[in-house]
């Protein structure tokens, strides 16, 4: 395992050096306790301590609006727009989210737009030593510890940042900037201590084993819990739009003013919106808000388990933070646990 040490006094030099190579995106404070990934040019702009950003770093892999085709009266071309970039400061929950999306878009038929962008993004993770707030359930979703999916991974200590170098790309960055020192045994033992302490802080947030959540969902499709959500959900789609693993999209044409040329783009869409499952004839296959909320939960805790053998919830807590109707993921799961006790529990 390769580690490298960056003294805090050199952090700004590092970001400046990295920004000279490619765009650098990092969490930035937006006030009111909120953060967002934005382009930065120096370390002073970066919030090293932050709670999950309003939008997840998904937006760089699958932009909110993305041109997929351009056409004129005599040509049609499939296109991809991309920017080589490095995303600094990705928490472990969001690394897990990106891993989920990688599976979805790498599966056949492959999504080349996603894959081209993915290949142009360098990921630098950042460890959380403590919970961000009461909405997180990362321990339950096993995403509180780094579990791959990054080129470099940073753990912050008082005087220095310890980088885990995971890929050759990461190694190249460390070498090219010339700002790092080699880590020795003391650095590694300090990391081990840090992780040990972390294990005592992060505890399974709900009284259910991770592997049992899928079993719970096998028996709660017709639960009254969903009816209750029908009364509360405003169908604003916030939970979808902030989710690191939601990937539904709409496809829209935008003609230019000549009306003969233009672009086709895809845009994030939300299964919570009224029109999402409506067909042209008018039939709506998920008219009830409760059924739409159920669909969202099943897309996190049941359907992907069948297809990708993992949960598509990272425990980041964004859906709970963004919900005006106070629909909190941990509460909903707790209601389900209470209403549908598992036989072995």
């Amino acid at each position: 395992m390769a580690y490298a040490v960056l003294q805090k006094g050199r952090f700004d030099d590092f970001i400046v050096a990295l920004a000279a190579q490619r765009k650098v995106m990092a969490p930035v404070s937006k006030g009111y306790g909120h953060f967002e990934f934005e382009e930065v040019r120096s370390a002073t702009e970066i919030a090293l301590r932050y709670i999950p950003t309003i939008l997840p770093p998904k937006k760089y892999f699958m932009p909110q609006r993305e041109t997929i085709l351009q056409y004129t009266s005599d040509s049609i071309e499939a296109v991809v727009d991309f920017d080589p970039m490095a995303i600094f400061g990705v928490h472990t929950c969001d690394l897990a989210g990106i891993q989920c999306l990688n599976m979805v878009f790498s599966e056949r038929p492959k999504d080349y737009n996603y894959l081209v962008r993915k290949n142009n993004i360098i990921i630098i993770g950042l460890e959380c030593g403590d919970y961000c707030d009461q909405y997180a359930s990362c321990a339950m979703m096993n995403s509180e510890m780094p579990n791959g999916g990054y080129d470099l991974f940073v753990t912050e200590f008082d005087e220095y940042l310890l980088f885990h170098v995971s890929t050759q790309t990461g190694e190249d960055i460390v070498k090219s900037t010339g700002l790092f020192e080699t880590a020795d045994a003391s650095h590694k033992s300090r990391l081990a201590e840090y992780r040990k302490k972390k294990k005592s802080i992060f505890k399974k947030e709900l009284p259910i084993d991770s592997k049992d959540i899928a079993l719970l969902f096998d028996k709660c499709f017709e639960s009254k819990v969903w009816d209750e959500l029908n009364d509360r959900c405003l169908a604003c789609g916030n939970c979808n739009n902030v989710c690191p693993t939601c990937y539904c999209f709409d496809v829209i044409d935008e003609p230019a003013l000549d009306l003969t040329s233009g672009v086709r783009y895809r845009r994030w869409d939300s299964c919570q919106l009224e029109t999402f499952a409506r067909v042209a004839g008018g039939a709506n296959f998920r008219e009830n808000r409760g059924a739409r909320q159920r669909h969202r939960y099943y897309r996190k805790f049941s359907y992907p388990v069948k297809k990708f053998f993992r949960y598509f919830c990272t425990g980041c807590g964004r859906c709970s933070r963004a919900c005006m109707a106070n629909i909190r993921l941990k509460d909903v799961l707790m209601d389900l646990i209470k209403a549908h006790p598992l036989d072995n529990a």
Binding site: K30, H34, L234, C236, E274
Partner: protein, 249 residues
């Protein structure tokens, strides 16, 4: 191919939506390659009495004279676009409908009120058939262009039927409620790219409400944020009072 003849007409309004178009800047030149503007009081003195391909209406309808006039325009127009909140949902002029007509007339015209007729404010589609809606106070210029393209391509334009929150979130904005401010984004239909919130203001609901708001859920939210119903209703009625006459459109 002859460019379609387009005319702008104003009823009860501030003409601010037409000003948005006059202020378009460079894109206006491209638009004028596609259409022939034959009447537009705010920017030209010519009038046009013939058959129109497209009539663009700003303003709400609140006199019997206006009813006759809009019917006449409708009769000679192949396509009719309602532009701006006053035209599409009644807009601020609808506040009038919250009061007895006589009181309103007296308040405005005093002793001369008997000489002025007063009827309830209506949006354009509450009087004549409207083919296209460009909501907003004022209109959001990119949406006007999108609607115009749809008109020229002879396809419908579907106004988004989901709340402003969708576009607001996509833009990564901090929620106004997290800033401690009341915003009508959650019940107002999108299409403006959360223009106001993106510029630091709240949503005033100028585009009208989504067709199926969750009323019970909204009341829960209003309570949870410690807001009074009266406060919210006042905010909603600033643009949406005419909804009671006919909520669709």
């Amino acid at each position: 191919m002859a460019r379609p003849k387009v005319a702008f007409f104003d009823f009860s309004c501030c003409e601010g939506c037409q000003l948005q178009i006059a202020n378009f800047g460079e894109p206006l030149l491209d638009i004028l390659k596609l259409i022939e503007v034959v009447e537009f009081r705010e920017v030209m003195s010519e009038k046009y009495a013939g058959t129109l391909d497209v009539a663009i209406i700003e303003g709400s309808i609140n006199t019997t004279h206006a009813i006759e006039r809009i019917k006449g325009i409708r009769d000679r127009s192949k396509v009719l676009i309602a532009m701006g909140s006053c035209a599409t949902i009644g807009g601020v002029n609808g506040i009038k409908n919250a009061f007895p007509l006589n009181d309103i007339a007296e308040y405005v015209y005093g002793g001369d009120s008997e000489y002025f007729e007063s009827i309830q404010t209506m949006s354009v589609h509450q009087v004549v058939k409207v083919d296209y809606f460009v909501h907003g106070c004022p209109i959001y210029p990119p949406e006007f262009v999108a609607v115009l393209k749809a008109v020229l391509m002879a396809v419908p334009y579907d106004v988004p039927d989901y709340p402003v929150c969708v576009e607001c979130k996509l833009n990564g904005n901090v929620c106004m409620y997290d800033r401690g401010v009341t915003c009508l984004g959650p019940v107002t239909r999108a299409g403006c790219n959360a223009w106001c919130i993106g510029n630091g203001n709240i949503c005033y609901g100028c585009r009208g409400m989504v067709s199926n708001p969750n009323e019970k859920g909204s009341i829960d939210v209003i309570r949870r944020y410690g807001l009074s119903m009266e406060h919210i209703i006042n905010k909603l009625e600033m643009y949406n009072k005419c909804r009671e006459l006919n909520p669709h459109g």
